[in-house]
Symmetry: C2
Subunit: 254 residues, 2 copies
Amino acid sequence: MKTPMEARAAFRAGLATSTSGVADGYAQANLVAVPRAHAYDMLLFAQRNPKPCPLLDVTEPGAWTTELAYADLRTDLPRYRVWRGGKLVGEPTSVLELWRDDLVAFLFGCSFTFEAALVAAGIGLRHVEQGTTVPMFRTNRACRPAGALSGPVVVTMRPVPAHLVADAVRVTAAVPAVHGAPVHIGSPEALGVDLAKPDYGDPAEVRPGEVPVFWACGVTPQAALAGSGIPFAITHAPGHMFVTDVPESTYRVA
Amino acid sequence: MKTPMEARAAFRAGLATSTSGVADGYAQANLVAVPRAHAYDMLLFAQRNPKPCPLLDVTEPGAWTTELAYADLRTDLPRYRVWRGGKLVGEPTSVLELWRDDLVAFLFGCSFTFEAALVAAGIGLRHVEQGTTVPMFRTNRACRPAGALSGPVVVTMRPVPAHLVADAVRVTAAVPAVHGAPVHIGSPEALGVDLAKPDYGDPAEVRPGEVPVFWACGVTPQAALAGSGIPFAITHAPGHMFVTDVPESTYRVA
């Protein structure tokens, strides 16, 4: 699964793994699809919360294609989540039969995109080393609400050796479209987070000499969906992203 | 009119001048207000065309306040434009009586915001020197459409001495939220533009040794409104901006 096309073909065939480390060098994206009647709220939520919700593309109602990849959004992610009335009702590996004519898909940047650049800077990835899904946490920071949508900022956490934290900031600040610089460094308690109990994904060990570094996460709009009363939605399953054909360098600034 | 509050008070009292050079150091904004039923198209148009349409705020339906200033959006701009069925039907100095309960106001960054920084970098402003409104042009570049909205990218033009063009790029690239770096430098014919005939504002003389420099302009969404069939809209009149309380430095990056 070196190329995005190979990865998507494997997921389309039924493979259901985390996409961290898959097709290094290509952007990955979070998916949230809601009916057109609720799309304004989602778009406004993204506009008001650009750090956790950096929009890469918005599709036309009913479309299952995107300019980000030669792909079918209904089948080419490893795992989905299906929401009815703000409740999670299933985690299928395809939503071919569930896609509707009025669904608008929002694709948000994902921090997996900059992981290859972190590794290139000498910053290892504990969740890859462990073979687990990156830990994600609902924080005590509220998003700015938009219509029916409100909720906490969700973050990913990666342990970084103390002498490399500044490098982690520098490397990721260069790609704001995939969450950019960390939102919080160290002090998980100030963020209302218990490192042993991620809300999504798996715990990642923080070793002596390492600092937990937190990046905004594209599960944030999904957390806002829960309890929103929006009647129907489809999202990716946390950690199981849409692998695009867009080189990571496309989103690098300065 | 040194402070935003003084400027808005003067406009509220009826003064109807261009806001270039007003309340230097504070962000200025373009206004487009459309009924809630058409707000998704406008928000998506902004998302798809971030260079001409950098969103600073989106209001709740019917609200006439914004987090950008202690102000009344219905009275505090020097001049408005009123649109019915995509046709311009009036240019009043107040829209107090016309504001509707379903209007959503979009506030887009304006290049007037970085003019003080250009002057500080030794780059004079011909339209200020001439006492005219900055020239604006509809170019031969199309925006990416969104729903009912499509149209050309509109640009402002400022003549810059050839040896200062790189400085003009550097200074303005630092503030992407108010259009950022130029979209085109020199060669007006390649942009489909006749410098003697601006579509909005007044011609600005380009002298020997100067290069015409073009920045994306927040009149772009207004140009997309014309002919869109959107039944009702209120915008600012070109050059007659909303002066905010937000210091320009707030929008400066790196």
